[in-house]
Every structure is written in structure tokens, then in C-alpha cells.
């Protein structure tokens, strides 16, 4: 009985300081109006993607050859495209593809980049300096989009491969950021204290080094999400991402190319969607960076 009480008591106590820390973060974040705007955009994007079937008036893949190239207002909120599909529905569903592909590609980059950067920065030595960093250098020698393009082309078309290609393209940046942070953290006294105690390497990395390396990674993750949306759109636009019929913002733009002068709405709405999605993630990322900046700590 008393055992349970103390356990519970300690738990509620443990949450308090962390909550206070989060509250401080939120207070600093809220001061930045642009960041709040970015958060709002990302929230809207997320909601749209989650509830796309509820919002979209029609099936984004449905084609109606009787109603092609209808201007906004006449053929639905955003008009219809050259195949008679409802542009509004396609933009709504496009949020799903964009968000999913950026989540998967950034997730992949985190999954590969963070462990590699963590171990390589922690152990240093030949492996770090001559293998990992040189591979990263070579990958970074290519412009990001070219790299993703080549990988996607080699792997073959399709959205799944495009996500993998984008993910691989992000890996070098994540390795670098993690490693740089780890290099600065591993020299701190509390890491030496843990080593003096005899704590094992794995435990030191997971309990001491990684948690204290997170802030810049969080920022990078947010910014990469925005960039992944552009990358997915670009690959789809070039025909290496989503299949032409799929409601992806990138392939919609590709499809709209031929009608730029006659049906502006085909390009305008997916373009605006990309613009706002990327803007949202960038503003959010900047806001997170500012709120995490140690100089603004209280």
C-alpha cells in the first residue's frame, strides 16, 4: 500500500520539472508570431491529410471527360483538370502524399543518420574520420536534388522509391549534425563523470550524449520535412515519383505544364499548397530553433 503511494508520488513529482521546461519552451515559442503561424499551417496540413476523405467533395482519381478544364467556381472550388478530375479534391489528397512522403523520408534519414553520427562522433578514430565522414563528403558533393534524382532513377520510378531516394539524400546532413553535436557533448564533464563511474558506452550514448544532442536535430527534422515536400514534388514533376494519375502536388504541376496559359488553376492551387506547406515547416523550424536557443533560456 505505502509502496504504491510513494511510487505514485514520485511519479507526479518527476513530471513537474519537465513540464516547467516545456512551459518555458512554449512561452518563448509563442512570442514568435511567425512561428505560431507556421505551426498553424502545419496543423491545418496535418488535419487536412488525416481527414481528406471527409473534406474532399469527390474522388481525386475520378475522371470525367465531359467536364475537363472547368475554371474555379464552375467546376468545383478550384476547377477541374485536363482529365476532368476535381482539383480541390486532388489538392486535399495531395496533402496526404506530401506529408506521408516527407515523414517517411525524414524518418528514414533519422533512422540511419542519427545512429551513424552518434557512434561515429562518440568513438572517433579511423572509422569516423576516414570512412564515415568521407562517404558523407562524397554524398554531399552532389546537390541534394541531383542525388535524390539519380538514386530514384537507379531504383526505378514510383512513390516508394522516391521516398527512399529523398531519405538517402537527407542522411549526410543528419549524420553531420548529429556528429557535430556529439563531438561537443562527449567532451563535457558529465560524460567524463559517467566514464569515471564505469558506465558502459551504450548507456553513455543513450542516456547522456543523445538527449543533450537533440535540440539542433529537432530543428533539422522540421526543416527537412519542408524540404522533403519540395523534393517529392520535384521528383513527381519529373516523373520519378508518384504515378501520373496519383493526386500528388508534384505530378499535378507536371500535368498542368501544357495548360499554363489556358488553365492557370491547374498549376496555381497545387503550387500554392506546396508553397504554404514548405513555408509552414520552415517557420516552425525557425521558431523551434529560436525557442531552443540557449541564449534565450531563463
Amino acid at each position: 500500500m505505502s509502496e504504491a503511494v510513494t511510487a505514485e508520488g514520485s511519479q507526479t513529482q518527476a513530471i513537474q520539472p519537465r513540464e516547467r521546461r516545456l512551459a518555458g519552451f512554449w512561452r518563448r515559442f509563442r512570442r514568435n508570431k511567425l512561428a505560431v503561424f507556421g505551426l498553424a499551417i502545419v496543423a491545418v496540413l496535418l488535419l487536412t491529410a488525416l481527414s481528406a476523405p471527409l473534406i474532399a467533395p469527390s474522388d481525386p482519381r475520378a475522371q470525367d471527360y465531359a467536364l475537363t478544364l472547368q475554371p474555379p467556381g464552375v467546376g468545383g472550388l478550384m476547377g477541374t483538370d485536363s482529365l476532368g478530375s476535381d482539383v480541390f479534391s486532388r489538392v486535399i489528397y495531395g496533402a496526404r502524399i506530401s506529408l506521408m512522403s516527407s515523414l517517411i523520408s525524414v524518418g528514414l534519414a533519422l533512422l540511419v543518420g542519427v545512429p551513424v553520427g552518434l557512434t561515429s562522433g562518440y568513438f572517433r578514430g579511423f572509422w569516423d574520420e576516414w570512412i564515415v565522414m568521407r562517404v558523407v563528403d562524397s554524398l554531399q558533393a552532389f546537390p541534394f536534388l541531383i542525388l535524390a534524382l539519380v538514386i530514384a532513377a537507379v531504383l526505378g520510378g514510383g512513390l516508394g522509391y522516391a521516398m527512399i531516394a529523398i531519405g538517402i539524400g537527407f542522411v549526410p546532413a543528419f549524420v553531420r549534425i548529429t556528429r557535430a553535436q556529439v563531438l561537443s557533448v562527449r567532451g563535457r564533464d558529465y560524460v567524463d563523470a559517467a566514464r569515471a563511474i564505469g558506465t558502459g558506452h551504450t548507456s553513455i550514448m543513450l542516456r547522456h550524449v543523445l538527449p543533450n544532442s537533440l535540440p539542433p536535430l529537432l530543428v533539422q527534422t522540421t526543416l527537412a520535412m519542408g524540404y522533403a515536400i519540395i523534393a517529392e514534388a520535384t521528383l513527381s514533376f519529373l516523373g520519378l515519383g508518384a504515378e501520373p494519375g496519383e493526386p500528388s502536388w508534384g505530378s499535378m504541376l507536371f500535368q498542368a505544364q501544357a495548360y499554363l496559359t489556358s488553365a492557370w488553376w491547374m498549376a496555381f492551387f497545387p503550387g500554392m499548397a506546396i508553397f504554404f506547406a514548405v513555408l509552414g515547416f520552415n517557420l516552425l523550424g525557425d521558431g523551434v530553433r529560436e525557442a531552443l536557443d540557449p541564449r534565450t533560456y531563463d
Binding site: 513529482q13 520539472p17 563523470a193 569515471a196 563511474i197 564505469g198 558506465t199 542516456r207 538527449p211 543533450n212
Partner: protein, 377 residues
Amino acid sequence: MTENPNGRSEAKNGYSGEYLLETRNLKMHFPIKAGVLRRTVGHVKAVDGVDLAVRKGETLGLVGESGCGKSTLARLVLRLLEPTEGEVLFEGEDILGYDRRRMLGVRRNMQIVFQDPYASLNPRMTVGNIVSEPLKTHNIGGGSASERKRRVQELLEVVGLNPEHYNRYPHEFSGGQRQRIGVARAIALNPRLIICDEPVSALDVSIQAQVVNLLQDLQKEFDLTYVFIAHDLSVVKHISDRVAVMYLGKIVEIADRKALYGEPRHPYTASLLSAIPIPDPRKERERRRVVLTGDVPSPANPPRGCSFHTRCPRAQEYCKDHEPRLEPHGDEVGDEVGSGGEGRGPTEGHRAACFFPVVEGQRIEEPASSTPYKAGD
């Protein structure tokens, strides 16, 4: 004496049982790498041949300017750095060859308190987690979480903290309190030796006294041996039994506290001591200070001969070409030179590495004779 944790006989390796910790010719030369190929173009000789012996139960003070290698020495002893050369003996056994498992046994007996109470505690761990980390790693203090918690709260109480603050984060404490947390972590395993790496230099003067007193109380209570590193001579004088002075990676003088503060032999020690203000305006006005000119030479390129000759007020031609060894310099009556001094331990008595040692009553600036001093030879 207590038994060696490994159950080994203590007589092995010529171990008399008197010294808990010894270093023999310990060197740490950090390579300087340059160029695309990262070739080694030189070495920073942070620690350059240190012989030191720490007796059981004593406090050995270690003083020297910033950058002289004090902290590197501390990290070498704890094997946080692997030395370039030399031996570290803990209870008579060279621990440098130990594998991870055997090293764990040594770590249990040897802990460290760091200088910066802000950098030495993980900001993302609660005080409870910080202090219980050694217990978890070594699997002691009870298996269950509640037993461990009780032990941690006990430790917090021992170092003068409120055990209720178990779940707080380091940033919620003041510098002095944080240092107490660091001390609690260090004593959690009941170690025999604690290396205090400038434990009070980052604290306010009033807090310094509290932490020094805490360390002294703990020493009595738990029979601890300290290596107390500092650059504050008065703090070292207060806490130490013996004091070693370091300059450019070498020990230049070592003696009992009284002998070192009363009759410094090495001109470096003498000039350091002459910089201590006297809290009596009349005496303070008459105090003669020896102001050293120039900066400490770079440890990447230490001077030839005696490493202190570039700044030494007594330096002679001889010092530029010859390197002095740490040799016995008797106190007053010459008690330990020649007769008793030789038979005793490797770093026993009053030793200094100087050809022209300061003699009581003499001005530091001028040596008595131009014949270099050599003992024993």
C-alpha cells in the same frame, strides 16, 4: 589494512601498502595534427614524466597555473585518458593494462569531483538519477528501485541536501548545491580515493568554505584519500597534508604542507607563495613580491633544460642546458638529505627540481652560489 578488493596479496609488485595511488614516469603527449593527411607535426606535452605517491588517508594538494597539466593528470589517473607512457598504480597494481571488467573494480574505489558544477551534471537527468547512476552501474545499493532511492536520499542528506529534492533537475540548484550533488555522486560507491579537480574554484568564496568543510567531514567519516587539485594556494594550504607544485607538465616541488609553505625551495613555488596577500595591512605593505615575467611557455614546445629557466629570476647559464630532477632538499637541518631521505619512499621528504634552490632568508632573485645543487650524486 583493508583487503585488496581483488583478493590479491598486497606485497606483490613491491607494494608496501603505504601508498594508495602512485604514478611512475607518467606522460601524456597529445599529438598535434595538421594538413590534409592529418600527419602528426608535434606533441603537446601536457603531462611530462610525473612521479607521485599518495598515502592512504592523506590529502595531497596539487597546485599550478592553468594549463600546467593538473587536470590532465587527474584524467590520466582515472583512465579517462590513456597515457602515452608510464604507470598508474592503484594499491600497488598497474591499472593501465586492466580490461573493462577489472577496471570496473578500480572505478568503484576511485572517483572524481569536477571543477565546473554546471558542466558536470547532465542537465536532462534528475538529481536522483544522477546520484543513482553509480549504484545502477555497479549493481549495488539494493536491487529494487525503492531501495536505491532510499540510498540516494541518504547520500543527499550526507552531503547536506534536502532528500526531498530527489526529483529536481540540476538547473534548479545553486552552484554550491550542484557541487554537493557532484560530491554525492562521487561518494555513492564508497570509494577510497577521490580526485578533486578544482572542486571549489568555480564557487563564491563563502560557498567555497562550505564545500571544503564538507569534503573534510566526509574524509573523516568515510576514511577517504584525496588528491586535491587547485590553483588557490590558501585553499590547498587549508586542506592538504602534503603539497605538490606543477609547472609545464612536471612536478617541480613536493613537500609536507608546512615545509612547502614555510621554506619553499623551488623559485617557482617561492614566487607563487609571494603572491598570496597577507590580511594585515602593515605586513602586507612590507611583503616582497616576486613577479614572474612573461607567460608560461607553450607545452608544445617547452624550453630546453629546466623548463622554468625562461621565467626564473635565479636562472643561470647552467639551467638552459641541464634538466633538474626532483631531488631531496632537506628542511633546515638537512634531516632527510643523505641519511634518512634515501631509504624512504620514492617521493618522500621535501623534493624540488632546481639547481639553485631558494634558501631560507635569501632573496629569491639571487642564488647563493653558482655551483649547481645536486643531491646524492
